[in-house]
């Protein structure tokens, strides 16, 4: 794949992620902090089809743009905390076991890491560790949404066939 095509694909995935994220924020789930994580589909697709650096750019780009489009600072800090944990986890799993781990499995691990990182950020902001009591329901949901996101990302990466 040539450089231009890589760049265009990364940009496309970033903007798709941004739109998906904004659309998702219109329909909050019943439990605070619970997300479908549709935006993560595109980061994951970037990871699979382009590589770790592009996946980081897609996630970070989406995060910064969503913030500049009127997100609040605390939500930004939470997502940053989540990404700071989930990106390295997903990248490491993907790089170390490219053949022996499926994309949905990596996605679920990423969703777990995201939720834990997000709560760590909240714990730092609120200066109390009791927020981790939110973890069980969040992780339960993350298992389902993470798997769905993984399947979708796999499918997209397959279609894009870069």
């Amino acid at each position: 794949m040539n450089r231009t095509r890589r760049l265009v694909t990364a940009a496309l995935l970033t903007s798709s992620a941004l739109v998906a994220g904004l659309a998702e924020s219109r329909f909050p789930l019943p439990f605070p902090g619970m997300r479908l994580g549709i935006a993560n589909v595109f980061s994951l697709a970037a990871l699979v089809s382009l590589g770790p650096a592009e996946a980081a750019v897609v996630s970070l780009g989406r995060l910064v743009m969503a913030f500049s489009l009127g997100g609040n600072a605390i939500a930004f800090a939470c997502s940053a905390g989540g990404l700071a944990l989930s990106l390295p986890v997903m990248t490491a799993l993907y790089k170390i076991f490219p053949k022996s781990l499926s994309v949905p499995a990596i996605s679920v691990a990423g969703a777990y890491a995201f939720n834990i990182g997000q709560l760590a950020a909240i714990a730092a902001i609120m200066r109390t560790h009791t927020v981790f009591a939110y973890l069980p329901p969040l992780l339960l949901a993350a298992a389902a949404t993470g798997y769905a996101v993984g399947r979708t990302a796999e499918w997209i990466a397959d279609r894009v066939k870069l």
Binding site: R3, R6, L7, A10, P52, A53, E54, A56, V57, L60, A80, G81, L83, A84, L85, L87, P88, G117, A120, A121, A123, A124, R127, T128, H129
Partner: protein, 362 residues
């Protein structure tokens, strides 16, 4: 997009992850907490200390703190004829006595407090306390002549110090009694000692004279919670509070008439004396609690305020910065609590019927 700039992005992300990681680690508190009980200075002593040390190190530090108390007891006691204070008393009206730094410091603080309270607290009140103790033990009350004789022997102006190690009480038959200040000074000394040994959080309870530092370390919490120190309810059993004070740093020292008293001929005589009248205090105040960063002064002032009464004390408090007080008095319908405005928000009543009033003294 160049490969190297992508790498930069990745590096930034890794450092971000590092920062979050450090935050999470800070949540896991490496502090250890050790408590110790014992008897010293004629009272029940309890200390709790937290530091980033092993438990055996903390144990050793607290052991040292109890050693300090023993040392001070040996210097300050009026029962022990070999104490430095007893030596100064024995030489009263006659000659200078060589004393240690601790005794010098506690006497200097006492004289300052006595000046501040204009004699409502007096370290040379020994003649008065001894007279009453002796008579009350016999079931009698001292006669007016004896009282005025004892008052004549009470005058902190005649207690001279020479830095760094000399003391002379220029009243023959006079006696120093550090009952109103020794525990405050001891808790200050223990607090300084713990601080010097890198203890970051501590509670020192010398028989109800409470000094705290650093807030209460709670497992896992990045921020320290304040210590919760109760103020004894005058009519309830020991340990039942009338108010609870949240305090991270400072001393909470109470003088109360309910604490020690003797009944003779149907009247109660407390252990707190008015040095100027030569009689036990007998006012509407049940107790005074002084909250200050200086435990020695807090101890002396709590006694002085019992003598002065609430209104005069509030006036005096207006010129002592950083010092607050809680006055518990008995009225026609139960107990009432008046506190200085500096305690608003941190002092809460713990009995339903009690109302806390805050007085702005500044």
């Amino acid at each position: 997009m160049k490969k190297s700039s992508l790498r930069h992005f990745f590096l930034i992300f890794c450092s971000l992850a590092g920062i979050v990681g450090i935050f999470s680690i800070r949540m896991i508190d490496p502090l250890k907490t050790v408590s110790r009980d014992g008897i010293s200075m004629d009272t029940v002593v309890r200390m709790t200390a937290s530091a980033a040390k092993t438990e055996s190190e903390l144990d050793e530090i607290l052991e040292g703190a109890f050693g300090l108390l023993e040392e001070m007891e040996k210097k300050f006691s009026t029962h022990d004829p070999n104490s430095e204070i007893s030596a100064v008393n024995a030489a009263s009206g006659a000659e200078w006595v060589k004393i240690s730094y601790d005794t010098y410091a506690v006497l200097a603080s006492s004289i300052n407090a006595a000046r501040l309270a204009d004699g409502a607290f007096d370290p040379t009140v020994g003649a008065v306390t001894l007279l009453w103790q002796k008579k009350l033990a016999e079931g009698k009350i001292p006669e007016d002549g004896e009282i005025s004789e004892a008052v004549r022997k009470t005058d902190f102006g005649k207690l001279s110090l020479s830095a760094p190690d000399g003391a002379f009480l220029d009243i023959s038959g006079g006696a120093i009694d550090l009952g109103g200040v020794a525990k405050g000074y001891a808790s200050a000394a223990v607090r300084d000692y713990l601080r010097k040994n890198d203890v970051t959080s501590a509670l020192i309870d010398l028989g109800g004279n409470v000094a705290v530092m650093g807030g209460r370390a709670e497992r896992g919490e990045a921020k320290r919670a304040p210590w919760r120190v109760g103020i004894q309810h005058p009519a309830k059993p020991r340990g039942a509070p009338i108010c609870v004070l949240e305090i991270s740093e400072g001393a909470v020292i109470t003088a109360g008439v309910y604490e020690r008293f003797r009944e003779v001929q149907g009247r109660r005589y407390t252990h707190i004396f008015d040095p100027r009248a030569g009689r036990p205090v007998d006012g509407e105040l049940e107790s005074v609690t002084v909250v200050s960063n200086d435990p020695t002064q807090a101890d002396a002032l709590s006694t002085a305020f019992m003598v002065m009464g609430r209104d005069a004390s509030l006036r005096l408090l207006s010129v002592i910065p950083g010092t607050d007080a809680v006055f518990v008095s008995r009225g026609a319908d139960g107990y009432s609590v008046t506190a200085t405005a500096g305690l608003e928000g941190t002092l809460k009543p713990s009995a339903d019927e009690v109302l806390v009033e805050f007085a702005d003294v500044r």
